[in-house]
Amino acid sequence: MEFLAFLLRRIMWSLLVLFGLSVVIFTIARVVPGDPARMALGPSASADQVAALQEALGLNAPMWEQYIRFLSGLTQGDLGRSLLTEQSVTVDIAKTFPATLELVLCTILLAFVTGVPLGVAAARWKDRWPDNLVRAIAIGSAVVPSFFLALLLQILAGYVLQILPTTGRLPAGMRFDADITGLLVIDSVLHGRFDVLGEALRHLLLPATALAAATMGQIARITRASMIDVSRQDYIEAARAFGIPDRVRLFKYSLRPAFVPPLTILGLEFASLIGGAFVVELIFSWPGMAAYGVRAITQKDLNAIMGVVMVSGVFFVMVNLVIDLLVGIVDPRVRIRGTRA
């Protein structure tokens, strides 16, 4: 029951964050630039053209009325029209978002399946060479710029060794319509197209690695700290006294509670992960939302920019809600206590 109340509280929190986010975005896009219509048309447009676009965009209404309109549009999933593609921003983002979602989910998975074992190994052999090695990896992954790593991987695996594709989600000639979830990895299995699955995974590997590095280092470090923390608890001492084997103690008794801090970190780090996706998608010509966002930004397409920032925020909030749920599943104490920290 307490857990339900906790989740409800978190959902309220999420709505509040989204509301705040809408205010921030509205301020950046409508209040700061002065005249969005002039910005969209450029300096060579005539005063009449600007006035017409102002009228069409509803920019003559008072600021609060514009905000109400923006907000009610948001609640109906309407982000306005893109000045560049002349389409609804919602449609544009819906088209590009699955590619980003697929990349980000694979990145998270990759960061966890590499980061957690590294952290466990470092904690198990604390102050010995595996610990030092993991520490070096964690620092290295934290300081390498994501775009630099992306370029490096592209050269090494793509050009020098020529073992992995360096651009896009699928080979140029391959036809496949991801019409169920939009995620190639899942849809290809549902359609029984395992050739597509293989290609999709091959294309995912380099961008996901470039994006995962920073998060992986953080997760390894936090897992190590929390494993060491748990191993000092009385019940682990008791388990040792009862002669329960090392392996069982490590994986069954320590790892499960030690899993909570890395999950929490992932929630916090998620915003910077999306930021990293902006750079990585561009380098690997990944047809995702971030690439769309960068194009919108360089073309000063305000509605598209607002849409992309808003969707990034919604994505962040959703991932954090899922993490709250997962933490409740992993650590039953949370379900009773009703907080995750």
Binding site: L21, P145, Q154, V279, F316
Partner: protein, 292 residues
């Protein structure tokens, strides 16, 4: 004239700290890298081999020269010496870090102290605002601001600072909350100390080591974000040398002229590594495990 009075205890304390610092290889290597980069950035006009290559200098006969004794880092697509531009590029990265942290740390610290100490509505309002700011990727925010205003170093710095204080607020908030009910704070309250005294003279000194670690680690991250921003073409504008811009420009000549992007990229890595090692070493030194 009497000699200045140095309390024996304080002296030995400083010595002790220095000794512990010098025995920590991570911290020392980090500090050396940071000192090296900072002094190169400051002395750039005097130590660079070709100071005239900083601006929009062009020498097409010498374009795409590989690293050699004349040009240690090679030359770029218009024949400018890359080492010179890398050293100048350090300036931009360091200024970015100094300004962003110079805004974020005081703001974040004061808000964190207030939220942690006063509690109630102050806490609710401040912490809810940090929650909102955490949901926005700093890089995306900086990109959006650069697009709406104009791409410039100042705009990027403002955009990143506008979000960065939240991390410091969260850190100071959690420390302050733990300290609020400790005896020395309660004693100061009982003695009728002013709020300002309690916040800045009783609680703040206990946050200093955490702030030092966080600042050092943060400097590395801010530099990485700034580099990513200019890699995307929305940071400081050419011809001012900037490491991220150089990587982006050189990337079109990969893999043949690898030095044009790989060496400036390594410079960013080196600088960020220095701050991270320093922060990591300080964390061990001050024993503040939970500061990231």
């Amino acid at each position: 004239m009497s000699e200045p009075v140095v309390p024996q205890e304080a002296l030995s304390n400083a010595w002790q700290n220095w000794y512990r610092f010098s025995r920590n290889p991570t911290a020392v290597i980090g500090a050396l890298i940071v000192i090296l980069c900072v002094s190169m950035a400051i002395l750039a006009p005097y130590i660079t081999p070709y100071p005239e290559h900083v601006g929009s200098f062009v020498d097409f006969r010498n374009r795409h020269q590989p690293p050699s004794a004349l040009h240690w880092f090679g030359t770029d697509n218009v024949g400018r010496d890359i080492l010179t531009r890398v050293i100048y590029g350090l300036r931009v990265s360091l200024i970015l870090a100094v300004v962003v942290l110079g805004i974020a740390i005081p703001v974040g610290t004061i808000l964190g102290l207030m939220a942690g100490y006063y509690g109630g509505w102050t806490e609710i309002i401040i912490m809810r605002i940090t929650d909102i700011a955490l949901a926005i990727p700093p890089l995306v925010m900086a990109l959006a601001v650069a697009a709406v205003l104009s791409p410039s170093l100042i705009n990027s710095m403002l955009a990143i600072s506008a979000l960065w204080w939240t991390w410091h607020t969260r850190l100071i908030y959690s420390i302050t909350r733990q300290l609020r009910s400790q005896e020395f704070v309660e004693a100061a309250e009982t003695l009728g100390a002013s709020k300002a005294h309690i916040l800045f003279r009783e609680i703040l000194p206990n946050c200093v080591s955490a702030i030092a670690v966080k600042t050092s680690l943060d400097a590395g991250f801010v530099i990485l974000i700034g580099a990513a921003l200019s890699f995307l073409g929305l940071g400081i504008q050419p011809p001012t040398p900037d490491l991220g811009t150089m990587v982006a420009d050189g990337a079109s000549y990969l893999p043949d002229f690898w030095w044009e992007s790989m060496l400036p990229g390594s410079a960013i890595l080196f600088l960020a590594l220095g701050f991270n090692l320093l922060g990591d070493g300080l964390r061990d030194l001050f024993d503040v495990e939970d500061v990231r």
